[in-house]
């Protein structure tokens, strides 16, 4: 293809078309310079992701892990899923980045620079499980609308930042405060500057938890761009969409926050159980809060063939939203019998927990190893799909891997 010639002669118009916006001072662009937004079309290089990550959508970027990639106790960037609702902001200037706190229920509004946030408040680090509300959506029947996540839209990284509650204490919040809502620098897919791609939040009880952070570091480094550089709200155990990326404003609301993707069917499930495929009125839906108990077998990768005189060591992670995982069991006979795994305590509240077991198989043949976690309220994962809902959220059905014994 005559790509070079094409680019030379049609550079500015094509860049503008690709970016969906006119390039201001485009005529001053250095010849041969490609705007940052277009420089690296390969998402694996662009976001430094493992080659086994799966791209579900490239506009907006939605990329998920596979179970065997999530074996690290602390998930590295390379294996963290990306879920974007809009376009990743370009040209971020962290030196001039600010966070404004405002809203009807804030005593006053105040703007902090990044540096002020880092120096004025005590810093804390937590390992926090963030799972997309739609993780597992691909299994619902009839199919639910949206990105068809399988099992890999979850991670547990270590986040460092300041407590949102310390910032809110500095401002002072009124007695009628019920919710916080975030606002971010990402832009709407349609290019409409009046529209926010997503502006969600959490009730005050979640906002004021010790582990709810305004984070500026992930795994000890600056937060990667796709995960919210330079500032991210992190609220572990809740749908990851509560953990707003690239945030520049938090509003303290006297009503349930009414930003984009807080209403309708977005991140909401029926108040009462419905039959698969039922139409549900908006007023009969409620916002998802804590994510349900769930687990993943991260080792071995599904499809292992082993010899019949050896026991198989399995391991994985389990998490339970706001709660702790009490125990994890495994079954090699499709749930007829269950045996306990060794389940470790979490590194801190809202971190996922490691489980492991050694399995002896009675004879040669095909097996499935199923894992089932239970939370501190005694609630377990279902083996079948949980309650159908219009957008296919909260699928916490048991994970399983296929094994052949020679």
């Amino acid at each position: 293809m005559k790509r070079r010639n094409f680019i030379r002669k049609a550079t500015l118009t094509s860049f503008a078309a690709l970016l969906g916006t006119e390039i201001v001072f485009g005529s001053n662009l250095y010849k041969g310079y490609t705007p940052i937004a277009l420089q690296e079309p390969d998402p694996f290089k662009l976001f430094k992701k493992n080659k086994d990550m799966v791209v579900l959508n490239n506009k907006p970027w939605n990329i998920e892990a596979q179970a065997h990639l999530l074996d690290d106790r602390i998930t590295p960037n390379s294996k963290m899923f990306i879920r974007n609702n809009g376009v990743i902001p370009v040209e971020i200037d962290s030196n001039n980045w600010t966070l404004t706190i405002d809203g009807e229920s804030a005593q006053k509004s105040k703007t902090y620079t990044l540096q002020e946030l880092k120096t004025k408040f005590k810093q804390h680090s937590y390992q926090l499980t963030l799972e997309c509300g739609g993780n597992g959506r691909s299994e619902f029947n009839p199919p639910a609308k949206g990105n068809q996540w399988t099992v890999g839209a979850v991670h547990c990284a270590e986040w460092t930042g300041v407590r949102l509650k310390d910032i809110l204490n500095d401002i002072g919040i009124k007695n009628d405060a019920v919710y916080i809502g975030y606002h971010s620098a990402d832009t709407h897919l349609s290019g409409d500057p009046e529209k926010e791609p997503i502006s969600r939040g959490a009730p005050m009880k979640k906002a004021l938890q010790d582990e709810t952070l305004i984070a500026f570091k992930m795994n000890g480094n600056d937060i990667p761009l796709a995960h919210g550089y330079p500032l991210r709200l992190v609220a572990g155990g809740w749908p990851a969409s509560v953990s707003g990326k690239w945030i520049n404003r938090i509003s303290v609301r006297n009503i349930e926050h009414d930003g984009t993707k807080m209403k309708g069917t977005a991140y909401r499930v029926p108040k009462n159980p419905v039959a698969p495929g039922d139409k549900v009125k908006n007023e009969d839906m409620k916002i998802i809060e804590s994510m349900p108990v769930k687990s993943l077998i991260t080792y071995p990768k599904s499809g292992a063939i082993i010899s019949n005189n050896k026991s198989l060591a399995i391991r994985g992670h389990a998490w339970a939203g706001e709660l702790e995982v009490e125990e994890v069991e495994y079954s090699i006979d499709f749930g007829a019998t269950w045996k306990f795994c060794k389940t470790e305590k979490p590194a801190n509240r809202l971190a996922w927990q490691r489980f492991s077991a050694n399995i002896d198989f009675p004879k040669s043949g095909y097996y499935e190893v199923w894992a089932r976690a239970s939370d501190s309220n005694g609630v377990s994962q279902p083996m079948l799909l949980p309650g159908w809902n219009p957008k296919g959220y909260l699928n916490n059905a048991c994970h399983r891997i296929a094994i052949k014994v020679k």
Partner: protein
């Protein structure tokens, strides 16, 4: 006299050889310049031709698939491409499976919240295309494990 003629002939031959060598060297230099700076010889193509070529490639169909988007080639394909891939990727369309009712509801949602324009008569063309080519598949209450890549674990 014979020796002088022979000498002149030799001289001419040497001259021709020298010219030929010079010509070959110049040719080699030009070829290598192209090889380094313009291997596709794009200098000989006019821009309009180039642009046309790219446009032609854009909507190429191979094995019944529209290469640029991955959509199945069928009635309504270009209407879908032109109306459904401006804001989001075709990947989002292809991975979703809905009946006509739910596609229509999705279109209304996109018009209310995502700045999708009125589709007019195209709406039926689009929904017909989607329902025919990307129909819902009944998965039951739980599918079996699919796509197992077997490997030896030691």
């Amino acid at each position: 006299m014979k020796s002088t003629d022979d000498y002149k002939r030799l001289l001419k031959k040497a001259e021709r050889l020298a010219y030929a060598a010079l010509f070959m060297m110049t040719l080699a230099a030009v070829v290598s310049m192209f090889k380094i700076y313009d291997p596709t010889l794009s200098i000989f193509n006019s821009d309009s031709e180039t642009l046309l070529k790219i446009e032609e490639n854009e909507d190429k169909i191979e094995n019944g698939i529209h290469l640029k988007t991955g959509f199945i080639d069928d009635t309504g394909l270009m209407t879908v491409v032109n109306n459904c891939t401006n804001c989001h990727s075709s990947k989002l369309v292809i991975q979703n499976r809905m009946n006509a009712d739910r596609w229509n509801a999705t279109i209304v949602w996109m018009q209310e919240t995502q700045n999708l324009w009125e589709l007019g008569d195209n709406q039926k063309v689009i929904v017909d295309y989607l329902v025919k080519n990307y129909p819902p598949i009944d998965k039951g209450r739980r599918e079996g494990i699919t796509k197992i890549d077997w490997y030896e674990l030691n």
